[in-house]
Every structure is written in structure tokens, then in C-alpha cells.
Symmetry: C2
Subunit: 203 residues, 2 copies
DNA sequence: AGGTATTTGGACTTGCAAGTCCAAAATCGT
DNA sequence: ACGATTTTGGACTTGCAAGTCCAAATACCT
């Protein structure tokens, strides 16, 4: 049995935890901060998350990851315009989040390195999910002739995800925003290189 | 005034801190662990690092970064064979370190996200250093005709570093070793794409 | 309205890890 | 070998943050 009010409080706590986690990493996540931000009390937190900090962190990670799943897998990637649009969208979001020092993709890297195996496994699943999705898209493009029959789908998928993650980290470290954009631009250039017999927009 | 023995102890503490930092991230670095590993005492640690944990962490990061500077900038990158050899070397080291769960490049990402601005600045400098070095190499290749005159040196450099970093993180998260290798392989394929009029090993 | 179940506030306990302090031991220069 | 200096060991203090507990307040149902 749980009332609407309780549910709302729980969600409020969870959201705050996600934000703090993205902003400062797991190391800096303190329950006191969560309480302060959400104007709640110890009693509430442990009432809604009996497992304490571990449970909250775990839940927050899962929630953040849910958001990112969509981010990483656009609806359609059948033409070069689709790819370009997707990359543009990623860069735009990246720049926006970087302003608040709250880039979610970069935060993934931090969580990967946090040391907790459970945590790492959750992150691993996101990457694997992205990888699977991307491979499907690429395979589809290969089948439809947009990519060459021998296009190395697995390696291309690894490349794209690596660039996404690495570019975000690189930009965060150097306080810039052009590394991710540049790297993605070149990635697209490579993709065009393995174009097959049915060029999408050739005159 | 400092004796040889003191110097040795200080170094021992520093090395241990680097290892622990790479293995578990800054969050998990505890002075007690350092003492245990190095069989030293609180007195020694604070004697050699009066600034305490902050000073030690800072010093350890700087030291680790020194190691990595060499890692990221091979002596020569004038032929495709050089590039291939370099990438192979990186992959080999990566696989080796991954076995001990101690990949240093991946650890960089963790430190980037740790939240401490000082720390991030140190990491930023490594990346910038790599970037500069790589651009020089690429520009040299362009001048010598190995790359096309209009090869986008900046973007290629961003791409390479992004892949290095992102691939390492990706492999760590998914407990695999093929993402970095695959991504680097495709990166090399792209580089060959912008080959200029003086192919290095064409029959 | 009244009784029950849920939700809340916050004082209290506990454990860990950083940092302090100083006396004992080792080392060095002469 | 001896005095001065550096180095070491470890007990002690302190502060923070997690987790416990329970009485008061609120919400829900009939």
C-alpha cells in the first residue's frame, strides 16, 4: 500500500539523486545533500529506500540509464541525412549539458570507473544495448545496399560508441566542446567511405 | 635536508597511491589502505606529505600522468606501418592492463569525472598534450604527401584520442577487449582514406 | 468523524577515515 | 662515538556521513 504523496516523495528523492550523481559522481553523493535539496528527512529517505545509500544509488543509476537508452538509439538511421541529424542532435545536447557541467554520457564513464562491480554491470548493459541497436541499423543499411557488403559492422559500431563516450570525456576534461563534434564528423566521413552501390543522394 | 631512506619511503607511498588510484578511483583511495600496502604509519605519511590526502592524491595524479604522456605519443608516425605498430602496442598494453582491471587510460576518465577541478585540469593537460603531439605528426604527414593536403588534421586528432579513451572505457564497462581494437582498426582505415599522392607501400 | 495505515521530522548512535602529536628509533656528519 | 637531525610507530582526537528509532503528523477509508 502506498499513497500518492509517498510515491511523489520517493520520486523526488530519486530524481535529486540522479542529478547529484551526474553532477558529482558517486563519490560525492551524500544522503545529507539529497535531504537538503529535496527538503526531506532521514526518516523519509530510509522509509522509501530501506536499503539506504546503496539502494538509492543503484536505483538512480538505473533511472539515468533509462534516459540514456533513448538518447543513444535514434528511431531511424537509413540515410546519411539521418546520421547527420543524429550526430548534430548529440552534439547540441552535449554542448547544452556541458554548460551545466552535467554531461550524462561523460558521467557514464565516471560510473564505470567507480569500482563497484554492480554499478559497472549496469553501465555495461547500456553500452551493450547501444552496440546491439547500432549493429542492427548498420546491418540493415548493408542489406539495403547503402553500405558495402563487406562493411565491418561490428567494428564500426564499436567505433561510434567509443567516439561518443571518448569525445564526451575529452571535452569535459579539456573544458571544450569541439572534440566530440570533430570526432563524430570524421566518423561520418568514414561511414560514407564504405558506401555501397546505392548512394543515397548522389546526383 | 632529506636522506635516502626518507626519499625511498616517500616514493614507495606515492607509487602505492598511484596503483590504488588506478585500481579503485579517487573515491576509494584511503590513507589506511596506503599504509597497509606500504607497511608504513600515519606519522610517515604526514611527514612526507604534510598536506595529507589532498597533496598525496595530487602528486599521484601528476605522476600517473607522466607515465601516460609517453604512452600517448610514440616516437615516429611517418608510415602506415608506424601507425599499425602503435595501435597494436596500445591494444596489447590495454589487454594486459585490463586483466588486472588496471587500465590507466580508462582511469583517466574516472579522474576527469571525479569533480575536483584541480584534478580535472591535470587530466585536461594530458589530453591537450596528446592532441598537440598528434596534430604535429599528422601535419608532418600531410606536408610529406602521405596525407591529402586538405586532410582535417584537428578532427582526426580529436577522433584518435576519443577512440583511445572511449574504447578503453567501453571495454572496461563491458568486460571485453575487442571494442578498443575494433575502433582503432576502423580509425586506421579512415586515415588510409585520406592518403595523398605518395602511398607508402603501394606496389 | 474516527480509526487505521502511511508518512514525516529529527534526535541519537555508530563506524570509518582524516589528521594530530610526541616519544622512540634510526641515520648522518664530524 | 656522540650530538643533532631525520624518520618512524602508533595512540589519540575529531568530523562527517550512514544508519536507527520512535513519536508526531498526515492521509486514506468507511
Amino acid at each position: 500500500m502506498t499513497t500518492a504523496k509517498g510515491e511523489a516523495t520517493k520520486r523526488r528523492i530519486l530524481e535529486a539523486a540522479v542529478d547529484l550523481l551526474v553532477a558529482g559522481g558517486a563519490a560525492r553523493l551524500s544522503l545529507d545533500d539529497v535531504l537538503r535539496v529535496t527538503r526531506t528527512s532521514k526518516g523519509q529517505l530510509f522509509y522509501h529506500f530501506p536499503g539506504g545509500k546503496d539502494e538509492l544509488r543503484q536505483a538512480a543509476t538505473e533511472r539515468q540509464v533509462q534516459r540514456l537508452i533513448g538518447y543513444g538509439t535514434p528511431a531511424r538511421l537509413n540515410t546519411w541525412e539521418d546520421w547527420e541529424a543524429w550526430f548534430d542532435q548529440i552534439v547540441a545536447l552535449h554542448i547544452h549539458q556541458t554548460q551545466d557541467d552535467a554531461c550524462e554520457v561523460a558521467a557514464l564513464a565516471g560510473r564505470t570507473l567507480d569500482g563497484d562491480p554492480e554499478e559497472r554491470a549496469v553501465i555495461g548493459r547500456v553500452f551493450t544495448h547501444w552496440d546491439t541497436e547500432l549493429r542492427e541499423r548498420l546491418t540493415g543499411m548493408r542489406d539495403s545496399g547503402l553500405l558495402l557488403p563487406d562493411a565491418p559492422v561490428e567494428e564500426l559500431s564499436s567505433l561510434i560508441i567509443s567516439v561518443l563516450e571518448g569525445g564526451a570525456v575529452l571535452d569535459k576534461a579539456t573544458a571544450s566542446t569541439h572534440h566530440l563534434a570533430g570526432a563524430l564528423h570524421q566518423t561520418l566521413a568514414l561511414l560514407r567511405t564504405v558506401t555501397g552501390g546505392t548512394p543515397p543522394a548522389a546526383p
